[in-house]
């Protein structure tokens, strides 16, 4: 799952070090346009629906948090 997510992230923003960043949304590294694109890709790739309610910084600040969110929604 991580590999698929990393592929999406690196295609979306090749300039960002996703492995080490810990505040992707809080620090404004990912903006709202990035988030919308990212959610679209995640929904398609993992066959889930990330809703507006889940668009909290803590769900997207790190790769680990995104993986947790995907796992939760897939359950």
């Amino acid at each position: 799952m991580k590999e698929q997510l990393m592929k999406i992230l690196n295609e979306l923003r090749p300039d960002v070090d996703f492995e080490n960043e810990t505040a992707l949304v809080t620090d404004g590294i990912l903006d709202s346009f990035d988030i919308v694109s990212l959610v679209g890709e995640i929904n398609a790739e993992f066959d889930i629906t990330v809703g507006v309610d889940e668009l909290e910084p803590e769900n997207f600040d790190t790769v680990a948090a995104m993986l947790d969110l995907i796992a939760d929604l897939a359950d």
């Binding site: 346009f33 919308v36 694109s37 679209g40 668009l55």
Partner: protein, 531 residues
């Protein structure tokens, strides 16, 4: 009663004394009573509109909360439900909740739309009808515009949407909901607080903390400096150029736009510092509304630093819901087929941004100039995303180093100019005037106005210009320090007491001597209170 008035200072002092005398548990009632007193003296005649909003969101939130809790309870009691059954149940509950939320939103926004836009829309409708030969007098209301309605409506509706989304539990006590909506420092120009961040701070009593108290007073003083020794003086130049725009050309117009940009920043962020300072005296941290917007390197970054609480409201309650909606997702699939993967994927997001900025524009007022102001920002942001690949190729071909200070400085300057041009629409007396100003801006090349003494002909004396220059320089230095992560008040707090007092007394004397008072200034009013 405005922020800069003896009455407000009295209210602040009396509230602070009573707040710390009252038992912790009841301190919120002091804030509520003071908010009532503030509204009584400032906008009593239209106060019932706020009372209706409070009643509506209190009731709607309770109903939504009941649905949320019943849903949770049902799931708990029926743990054996299949995924499809759970989905169907959720959809059923959502439908009921959506109906309740819609009623709440229609009532709250209905009052705002009616009071703010009805006369304008009525006028426009009848102008069109006249074109096709239908005569008649446009119906209009003569109701006064309630104090702070543009701000408190957004704050109130964010509460019920968050309860609808299950992020919050509803507050049962209507008086506490009333305090959240009407907290007196924020009523006139925000910040637009969120229940999750602000409400518990208002309700739980805070013990007296001298450092926090001192920080609050210092922040208020800093806001006062911005407002009285910068915004007001910048306003003299901006008013001269915008009110007599036919007499100015070329760089004079650009100067007017840039000066207005500085004025509105000093005015609004100064006002916010004062509001946040007032709240800090009670131990309450209100949302940050500005983070050095003129250091932004792009227009989209500017909007993440400027009027942050309005931008965040639009992002969370308009942009995201639209972008992630089924309708926009379907649209995206279609546009990908027509325009290809890159543009096709982005088009629905651009449309959502377009709608959000249109709303930001009209939120400022009922005039076409605000519509264009909003759309200008949206077009620049969408355009820059769309053209990014072209832009990158250009930079590579021209071998421009983008990893250096001079390039960042260029980006900051470019953003400032783009934002300033947008400001021509929002500040000009009308849309026609703004178009005329833009035409005049490009009609003459006269950069010598910055050196030939023309700067002294816009209403400020050389002495005042020098003082303004010093304040801007101080503001830039302070902003750079903050940008580098330095906390100014904490740093000052670590200095010797004599130095701390010298700085504070120096600032007070500076405001008293150089502050803009008198009939040619409007020190008591703020630009954003009119919105």
């Amino acid at each position: 009663m405005t922020l800069i008035s003896v009455e407000f200072a009295l209210l602040w002092v009396i509230t602070a004394i009573l707040y710390y005398i009252f038992p912790l548990k009841y301190r919120w009632t002091v804030l509520l009573a003071s908010s009532g007193v503030y509204y009584f003296f400032s906008g009593l005649k239209t106060g019932y509109f706020m009372l209706i909003s409070i009643a509506v969101i209190w009731f709607v939130a309770l109903v939504l909360d009941k649905y949320n809790e019943n849903h949770k309870q049902y799931l708990k009691e029926h743990a054996d439900l299949t995924r499809d059954e759970k989905k169907a149940l959720k959809a059923k509950v959502q439908k009921k909740k959506r109906l309740v939320l819609t009623c709440g939103l229609v009532l709250c926004f209905g009052m705002l739309v009616f009071l703010k836009y009805f006369n304008f829309l009525s006028d426009q409708t009848f102008s069109i009808l006249r074109l096709i030969g239908v005569e008649g007098k446009a119906p209009k209301h003569d109701l006064a515009f309630p104090l702070g309605i543009s701000f408190y409506t957004l704050q109130a509706t964010s509460y019920i949407i968050d309860v609808y989304r299950g992020k919050l539990r509803a507050e049962k006590n209507v008086a506490k909901v009333a305090l959240f909506v009407s907290f007196f420092p924020q009523i006139v120009q925000g910040p637009i607080g969120r229940f999750g961040h602000l409400a518990h701070q208002l309700y739980e009593g805070h013990r007296f903390n001298f450092t926090q108290f001192k920080y609050g007073l210092q922040l208020f003083l800093w806001g006062l400096i911005k407002k009285l020794t910068l915004a007001e003086y910048m306003g003299v130049i901006a008013n001269e150029i915008f009110n007599n725009y036919t007499e100015y050309k070329g760089f004079e117009i650009l100067l007017g736009a840039m000066v207005y940009g500085v004025q509105v920043y000093a005015d609004f962020s100064g006002g916010m510092d004062m509001v946040r300072g007032v709240a800090q005296v009670f131990g309450i941290e209100m949302a940050v509304n500005f983070e050095r917007p003129y250091f932004a390197k792009s227009v989209s970054e500017f909007w993440r630093r400027w009027h942050i609480t309005l931008g965040a409201w639009m992002k969370d309650y308009v942009f995201y819901p639209l972008s992630l909606s089924k309708a926009f997702s379907t649209m995206g699939k279609k546009t990908r087929k027509v325009f290809g993967a890159y543009i096709g994927k982005m088009l629905p997001t651009f449309l959502a941004s377009f709608i959000a900025f249109f709303l930001v524009g009209v939120w400022h007022g009922s005039s076409y100039k605000y519509v264009v102001y909003g759309l200008w920002n949206s077009i620049i942001i969408s355009g820059s995303i769309l053209l990014e690949p072209v832009y990158k190729k250009m930079l590579e071909k021209l071998k421009i180093n983008t990893d250096c200070f001079s390039w960042q400085l260029f980006q900051i300057f470019r953003t400032f100019i783009l934002v300033s041009i947008g400001r021509i629409f929002s500040r000009a007396t009308s849309l026609t005037a703004s178009i005329e100003m833009l035409k005049n801006m490009f009609s003459e090349f006269n950069p010598w106005i910055f050196t030939d003494g023309t700067l002294y002909t816009f209403g400020l004396q050389p002495r005042q210009m020098f003082m303004v220059f010093i304040v801007i320089l101080t503001l830039v230095v302070v902003s750079i320090m903050q940008e580098k992560g330095m906390k100014i008040r904490e740093t000052l707090d670590k200095q010797n007491m004599i130095f701390q007092w010298l700085v504070v007394i120096g600032a007070i004397v500076f405001v008293l001597i150089y502050g803009a008072y008198g009939t040619e200034f409007s020190a008591a009013s703020f630009v954003y209170q009119q919105f």
